[in-house]
């Protein structure tokens, strides 16, 4: 009996993933636990291990194809089965029926709209039967979400309509941009998710408030102590300041503030932008924040971040200081509704006590989603951040 290789669900809100790259090819022998393929989502890339030992018999998707979580993307013939038919991901015309029905998710601007054949949206990834009411199943199809892993609150664990998760994070945005979103033909697979997300974000009302802060004091602290950097300080300060500013940490999915203070830190890696998250940053000491950032950065560089390292942050920070650039006005990472961009702390003309003199100046830009955050609260938050940068002693 061949064993299915399924698109894993790597996080609560993951609805689909892309086959970034098959590591093994059809016909290859595989061992259980061995890396089989790379899967990418809008947040990270992930190596999927072979679930069984045998021969990789069928590939049901090619590099770059998207599948819903739980969808069968390949099969492994167990050795006891004898020689298995070997086939690569076939053309639709030649495909046996269950291949044709593996849901392809159209990126044509309407998010994860299922095709007619996705009525066979597959069961729970482990193969156990999902117990869901017919209406819940239909709702899940309409929303393009998988019911695998969903806990039902109906009798005997039945999934009912109210249990069906909301659509893919990007979908709530993507519904705004139904006319856009035709991806360029040579767009690399790994860039698809970010392409879609930014296409959607581009439609949103994202104003900014900005201030250039005099950061001589922080600069001196960094030089003296040596156990933290600019990004760590920003994370440490922002996590604590956010407690008093619930609007700026609104969750766009629910409309209510996030109640945890997980801060995302944008990181540039050879694989592209990733945003690892410092969990419970408001409870960490500054040196611990620094250690955590360093740890996450190393993982990011190595492509070794897990799904638990990314996502579900309440706020993010983007720092272009390492690149020597003074200003960045980033876009919020949905469902977050605000983001702080900081640049390099450079010597610039400043007015101090009425006199013109050089000082280390840091440009802070707060971009925010005006559907949820107004200018005044944004400005108040930024003011508190600026105060932290200009008078760090308050926090330490």
């Amino acid at each position: 009996m061949p064993v299915d290789v399924v698109m894993p669900k790597l996080g609560l809100t993951m609805a689909s993933g892309t086959i970034a790259r098959w590591i093994k090819r059809a016909g290859d022998a595989v061992r259980e636990g061995e890396p089989l393929l790379e899967v990418s989502t809008d947040k990270i890339s992930y190596e999927v291990e072979a679930p069984a030992t045998g021969t990789l018999a069928e590939l049901l998707g090619n590099d770059g194809d998207e599948f819903a979580c739980g969808a069968v993307i390949g099969t492994i013939a167990l050795d006891a089965d004898g020689p298995a038919p070997v086939s690569t991901a076939p053309d639709v015309v030649d495909a046996p029926p269950h291949v044709v029905e593996a849901p392809r998710i159209s990126a044509a601007g309407n998010g994860v709209a299922p095709t007619a054949s996705s009525t066979t949206l597959p069961q729970h990834a482990t193969g156990t039967r999902v117990v869901a009411s017919p209406a819940a199943r239909r709702l899940a199809r309409e929303r393009g979400v998988s019911l695998g892993g969903v806990r039902g609150s109906g009798p005997r664990g039945r999934i009912t309509m109210t249990d069906v998760p909301e659509g893919h994070d990007a979908r709530s945005l993507v519904t705004l941009s139904s006319s856009k979103g035709e991806r360029p033909s040579r767009l690399p697979a790994a860039r698809r998710a970010i392409f879609d997300k930014m296409t959607a974000v581009g439609e949103l009302p994202i104003p900014q408030v900005e201030h250039v802060a005099n950061v001589d004091a922080v600069h001196d602290l960094i030089e003296r102590r040596g156990d933290f950097g600019w990004t760590a300080f920003a994370v440490y300060a922002v996590a604590r300041i956010l407690r008093a500013h619930p609007e700026v940490r609104t969750n766009a999915t629910t409309g209510a503030p996030f109640d945890r203070f997980d801060i995302g830190v944008a990181a540039d890696t050879p694989h592209g932008l990733v945003v690892p998250v410092v969990r419970n940053a408001d409870a960490l000491a500054l040196a611990d924040v620094q250690r955590e950032i360093v740890r996450l950065a190393r993982l990011a560089r190595d492509g070794a971040l897990t799904h638990g390292d990314v996502g579900d942050a309440c706020f993010s920070i983007s720092n272009v200081g390492p690149q020597g650039i003074e200003r960045v006005a980033p876009l919020p990472d949905p469902p977050q509704t605000a983001i702080l961009g900081i640049g390099a702390a450079t010597l610039r003309p400043a007015v101090v006590h009425g006199k013109l003199r050089p000082a280390r100046m840091l440009t802070c830009v707060l971009s925010f989603d005006h559907r949820f955050v107004d200018g005044a609260p944004a400005a108040r938050f930024l003011a508190d951040v600026v105060r932290a940068f200009e008078h760090p002693g308050v926090f330490l």
């Binding site: 009411s133 199943r137 239909r138 109906g154 009798p155 009912t160 309509m161």
Partner: protein, 328 residues
């Protein structure tokens, strides 16, 4: 609109139709001199004569058979069964003759007969005077079956039955006769056969029902409102032909449905609807279809026993509540 009793509503219908069409006549046991045991025929022989309102011997087979024969040959007889339970004494005439002649004879004839049958559980009448048999006739091709829920239905459906060119069974619940309800003044007011009526709308659950259970469902809906649950109550009015479309709409809007009737639950009209809903409204269902009906026992005599074995408002509300709370 006027408020009159169910009994008077049927009487008005009879009077209006007998005035309108001289071929309409009425026959049955104990109707002319007595005026019907619920007073539902009083005054008719005085207006139309004892030739048009006839007391028959206790001969149900002849009563229904003659009704069919008269219907075949240019009259519109209204045949009163006294108690629906006695239809059993004339089953051949109803099922093998009335229901089939038009079809078997290649549409050479019509059978415009109305068969009135007081039915239902009331007052410890016992098992042979308390039945609700409409599901037998939903199952018999060739018959129309209507079940009024209130005075408006009583008048409008009886007029429709009399005017229909098909053999129509009119089941009137004995306990409804004294119940008052609003009736339109228009003496051409007819409730079309085959069309259900939405008694109230609500998003959370649909209660599909008919006859006397409609009133009980409305009581249940009022109780549910206090719990913050909004129920749709759909009064079928006609059991055959069923208004499947109205049922489908109610299920599509609410995703949860209780079907309730006083007739025995097993093999009742609700069973046909539940199966149909499962076939045609499957993807609209967020919960199983629930049917409520009398227990599969003959109706007992003792009031304490009689009252225990058929669905009333609290039971309907409870079923609906549990559906909405996802306990079922």
């Amino acid at each position: 609109m006027r408020t009159i009793t169910f009994s008077d509503a049927t009487l008005e219908a009879m009077r209006e139709e007998m005035r309108r069409d001289a071929t309409v006549f009425l026959m049955g046991e104990d109707i002319a001199k007595q005026g019907g045991i619920f007073g539902q025929f009083k005054g008719l022989p005085q207006e139309f004569g004892f030739d048009r309102v006839r007391d028959t011997p206790i001969s149900e087979a002849a009563l229904v058979g003659a009704g069919v024969g008269a219907a075949l040959t240019g009259c519109r007889p209204v045949v009163d069964m006294h108690f629906a339970d006695f239809i059993t004494c004339s089953m051949d005439e109803l099922v093998n003759q009335a229901a089939k002649l038009r079809y078997m004879f290649g549409e050479q004839c019509i059978v415009p007969m109305t068969l009135r049958a007081p039915d239902g559980i009331t007052k410890s009448a016992g098992s042979q005077h308390s039945q609700a048999l409409e599901s037998w006739f939903l199952h018999t091709p060739g018959l129309e079956v209507v079940v009024p829920a209130d005075a408006e239905d009583a008048k409008g459906l009886l007029k429709a039955a009399i005017r229909s060119d098909n053999p129509t069974l009119y089941f009137e619940h004995k306990a409804l006769f004294p119940q008052k309800g609003a009736v339109p003044d228009d003496d051409d007011f007819v409730v079309p056969i085959g069309k259900a009526k939405v008694m109230r709308e609500g998003r959370d659950v649909a209660i599909v029902t008919y006859g006397i259970t409609t009133g009980r469902a409305m009581e249940a809906a009022a109780a549910l409102e206090a719990d913050g649950i909004e129920a749709t109550v759909l009064n079928l009015r006609t059991i055959w032909p069923l208004d499947y479309g109205a049922v489908a709409d109610a299920v599509a809007r609410t995703h949860r449905v209780v079907i309730a009737h006083e007739a025995v639950r097993v093999g009742g009209a609700g069973a046909e609807l539940a199966a149909w809903i499962a076939e045609h409204c499957f993807d609209d269902l967020d919960a199983p279809v629930v049917r409520l009906g009398a227990a599969h026992v003959p109706v007992p005599f003792a009031p304490a026993l009689q009252e225990a074995m058929y669905p009333k408002a609290p039971m309907i509300a409870d079923a609906a509540r549990r559906l909405v709370r996802r306990e079922l």
